[in-house]
Symmetry: D2
Subunit: 400 residues, 4 copies
């Protein structure tokens, strides 16, 4: 059956050309992102558990991790956490299959703790965080099968909607890249930066302002001068990075809420504001493409923690992004592409109700000139929908 | 200082004129809405407590209620809840002020329980739900003051963004009205309908499809025939209601996932799917205007539970909606208006960085013809920003 | 098979004749007793549930309720609870039987809440207490059967020990009666006394000192004078009551830790110290006969919350007390009787390894003169062991 | 002021000479003992924290740890925990002193986790146990001072009672030693034995029966034969140990509830029954001398977790045991000594209301011959009461 793929002109300007643009990314150490990350780590671990034990993924959903902030007393040279963070893993999972007990709670705990260890290395797992779990009994078998031997395409059991965009605007690119680089390349040499890096980008015309809120780790900050140096180094690093991405004018502000005279600075013990008063939960932060983009349509659906075999919202959010990126990679002359996938209840999800691509083409390029190419790529990617499931389980796709 | 208000033409079609439109509303008994509603009820109760005890609202934030689903065994004529729902109220609150202990935990519990009693009357408060609370210590005083004697306009301490729209499209109007009427007028005569009513609207051209998922309360449903009757009554009610709103062709589907042959129907003990496997949390469902509208820019910010005195995200989301509605009420010839408010750190919030109104006017009406009027209304409403706080505290504004 | 019953002379004086005697009773509103009472109320409710649904009692054990104290701000005329008490019901229960789901969690919650309502009427159930439950899955069927149709005598699966005494000494009688009367007869006319009444009795020779710690309910106490009056009324009431029981010299002290000058008095909002800092758990307070008696051998076994069908420790503790009382009721000339029951693994519990009665007879009475009578009563009561189970389920026997 | 010390003849036989004797010890891995051990480890850690930070011990009480059992699937060669154990640390602690925040929650968590690591090495701390904490705010300063510079003797603020005994009977010695040796010397070479070793001793006349319930760790047990071997080795080890202590006839039974035909054996993943259905809490198991001794008067008071500076019950239970042991060590001709300490409200605790020593002397020895010696030792030890506090803080005294 041929797929219902529509390609049309987007009835607005490319975001790159709009006069005002706002974009945000909450870094992996932000309380909402911690919740997303834990939920997704638990999801991956449960998929792996099920594949290992029964050869296929069973019903589960772990998309509701709740983080309750702790209390900390940071101090130059190293302070301490006073009250631990409380992290509650919430969801459903199949606990017994074919007479076999499945250690879903223990698996969830391990996955959460390993994720925290890796993502927030300064967090003492035994003293600074309580990880609790309330996973209800799931309903057993999935009708759809994802196993090592292959996968069936699931049926849509809900009206769901996914939306993807490509390419990133310069501002989006800067915001996304800055957080990723700070949390990988930069931190390797500058251990004082914590994983809770929140980046706002605002573009007005050709003036881009990047605002970074970066939690500093007190153990690596000897005094206020060291702190001021650390802030300045982040500013320089992000400025340079941004200037490599855009020719527009860029200004970078770091930790603008600081007040040195009052001694009010962004100093933390663990590198995350979750240690002091900032709660978090799944689906409240970054969308599936890693950004919050009020200039673009977004799905409200939380992607992290959902079952990757049959949750259409998760699959369509990830797939629409992947398709948009593929089209822009392979087809010339596209300034902005927005791809929406709408499910059709009772149909296989590779047969959406509609796959709706809207494009802004470059000057001199007509949509009609590219339509066939675009349609072919969408068709190809839809046919390969179960690969999304595989990539999620293998940890190749980020969900936040 | 004059406010930075911009009025321009919206660079897209009115949503009413777009070819495909999707909209959704999660009813008050949906697990995400329960979380929103409890968070906001707790917020109102804390505001009232602070006003009563110290004459002004103190620091708090209760925007993270987490609901862990229970397990139930519904049955025609009345089943039972097997495992209670677990509801965790999360946030921060000021527990001591000027030497006075403030009963924030007890107040939060009472508010949550009263809200549940009112919203989900079939839920037995002693047996079907555990309400727990983890409110961290807040940081005492607010710089901004909201008291019975008057209010100061708070300063923006964050870059935040709010967006509002008006008027509702026909599809939006149907979706929103249907849920509100089912949960008030209809249920008064038809006690079998539970508060967990989820409504999807999809418009393709001039064909509107409304999909209702309505949890039925088993105590009022004697058998399958009674259930089928109840479903049909909802269908007729919503159809009639929709036809009063639009001249387009409308079809209504109710509980489409039912399979009568398999005995799979949407029967519940309490009227909410939270009794059986559906978890929920704040900010995952309806936006501040009560709808999820992928065709329109939305703010990711959770509005429910936030402090109404100084949380810019909450205030701007509610205010932008109110302004958009006022403009459309008072100014002729506007088909679609989108109002964005962007805060300016360090400035009073009635002085946003920009208040950006984008409009689609009716045929024959130029934006320029209406600009002055629109600008004046926006200016007036911004000047009155603290009234939003008052309305929230008094429970006059819904946040979800 | 004849039972192994031994009757011998007790190798010590009657407690009544010892030079120093200490005895204590924690009233029903004491945090440890609340835990006991909730555990036992939950146990009774589960027995009733199982009898109602499947016609026999299934496996469960709910002997681990933990109470975490709250925080309160009492005040003359009526104060308030600041932080709720947290009560965690812990244990095991059979949740499914023969394909039928059994609402054990909801039943436990209801039972606990009803018990609290009845026992601590000033506690606001929605605001002052969080009741949580963690009941693990029990192992299904019991080998022993207790049903409406009759009961089988269970086999001992453990070496367990029960001990009972009779008669109560005068000091014991005073301590036990005082608490019972204060919490029933006295409170009916004096609502200011709370259920958390702790009574210590100390006898040195013929001088008895009764120390009462009675939580007063602030709503009924207008000022310090009223408090002092209330304390004095309790003193007079208990003095009169004690003088009706003994001819020895009695002095009664009430709330001795008070310091009126410092304003330090035992004033509470709810009538229990659980509202302010006193935690509690099962099995930490009164033994099965309602007293703590360091002068007598006691069993460490917690009686409250245990399954009354097959838990030997529970049954033997209650039965040994009942037998001791029966013997003393029916046989003349016994000053002190101590009855120990020791189970024999693999044998029916009406065939203990040994039922060991040790007696102190009155002057002029030889043990040998009473041995046959005593033996017969013990034999009769052992034969009727399953009546203990019935009485527990029907709430006729107190376990603490 | 001279102390009120009384020495008299005990009005019963030495327990060693009674016809029937029962004694029990729950090993360190038993769920009740885990709770005791965690409570006491947390107490020690808080004392150390306070000494380190403010130079003296502040108010706290952590005597209410509740353990909720997990669920496990043991298997020859190594099974797994399915649902983690949940451990709730409950109590009160001073969280702020002189403007300084004190990390009591984090300290408690660390102490609990380190204790578990050490005591139950097979328990995976990240997957098999959830450690939660609910410590209420304590009331700040202690009137009594225990600091590195010295200690003041606290005043009794309660009527409390402690009781100690010496020497241990042979049966008591066997039971206590067997558990201690199995959990230290034996396990070093026989890693299959878990720390949850429960030992019952029963003596009838000169026949001693020792019943051992020893949780075996599945990872070290390849098959049923290996299990049977392991059980037999424990039997031989305990038999040999017992025969070194007594000349009476000893029989040892190990894991008597096993049924090899039904495959019902005592196999565990972690070495404790807490992994599968056995809950635990503080004060429900061993008394302060490490034993449960129904033949002897016992205090109901939980010793573990109590504040060692000012909790009279804790101090008197430990001190009375220590005094009894000292007397028996230093004075010849004592077959049984029972020492009771009763506090006197408002007096320093080295001035008890009465220190009451009751002795059974050896044949030919009169109490009067030893009275002066005994009295002197009691007086000396009472004078040194604060050394108990020091020993508890330093971990030199076991409380269970």
């Amino acid at each position: 059956m041929s797929r219902n793929i529509q390609v049309s002109e987007l009835d607005r300007q490319a975001v790159e050309d709009q006069s005002v643009e706002i974009v945000e990314r909450k870094g992996v150490g932000h309380p909402d992102s911690i919740s997303d990350g834990v939920a997704e780590a638990v999801s991956r671990a449960l998929s792996a558990l099920y594949l290992d034990r029964v050869g296929k993924v069973l019903h589960y959903n772990t998309d509701e991790t709740q983080l309750v902030a702790g209390r900390a007393a940071p101090a130059f040279g190293g302070g301490e956490v006073i009250e631990p963070i409380y992290l509650l893993i919430v969801g459903r999972a199949t606990k017994e299959y074919d007479g076999q007990q499945l250690p879903v709670d223990s698996t969830a705990l391990t996955a959460a703790r390993e994720y925290l260890d890796e993502t927030i290395p300064e967090l003492d797992p035994g003293a600074d965080v309580i990880v609790d779990v309330r996973l209800g009994e799931g309903s057993g078998d999935l009708q759809e099968v994802f196993s090592e031997d292959g996968a069936t395409v699931p049926m849509a059991n809900d009206t769901s909607f996914g939306v993807g965009h490509a390419p990133l605007t310069e501002t989006e690119e800067i915001v996304h890249t800055a957080e990723r680089k700070l949390n990988t390349e930069y931190v390797a040499d500058n251990p004082e930066i914590g994983p809770d890096v929140k980046i706002m980008g605002k573009r007005e015309g050709d003036q881009i302002t990047i605002t970074v809120a970066a939690a500093m780790v007190d153990a690596y900050i000897a005094d206020l001068d060291a702190y001021i140096d650390a802030v300045e180094r982040v500013r320089e690093y992000v400025t340079e990075l941004a200037e490599g991405i855009t020719d527009r004018e860029v200004s970078v502000d770091v930790n603008t809420a600081d007040d040195y005279d009052e001694g009010s600075i962004y100093l933390t013990v663990t590198g995350t504001s979750a240690e002091q008063g900032d709660d978090g939960s799944v689906g409240r932060g970054n969308r599936a493409n890693g950004l919050i983009t009020p200039n673009r349509p977004m799905s409200m659906e939380a992607t992290s923690g959902k079952n990757p075999v049959n949750h259409i919202g998760k699959i369509y959010n990830l797939l629409s992004t992947k398709i948009a990126e593929s089209v822009v990679d392979e087809v010339d002359g596209i300034r902005d592409l927005q791809l929406r996938l709408l499910s059709q209840i009772g149909q296989p999800i590779d047969q959406p109700h509609v796959a709706d691509a809207q494009v802004v083409t470059a000057d001199g390029v007509a949509v009609a000139d590219r339509e066939a190419e675009i349609r072919a790529i969408i068709d190809r990617e839809l046919a390969d929908v179960t690969d999304i499931t595989r990539q999620v389980i293998d940890g190749e796709l980020s969900t936040f």
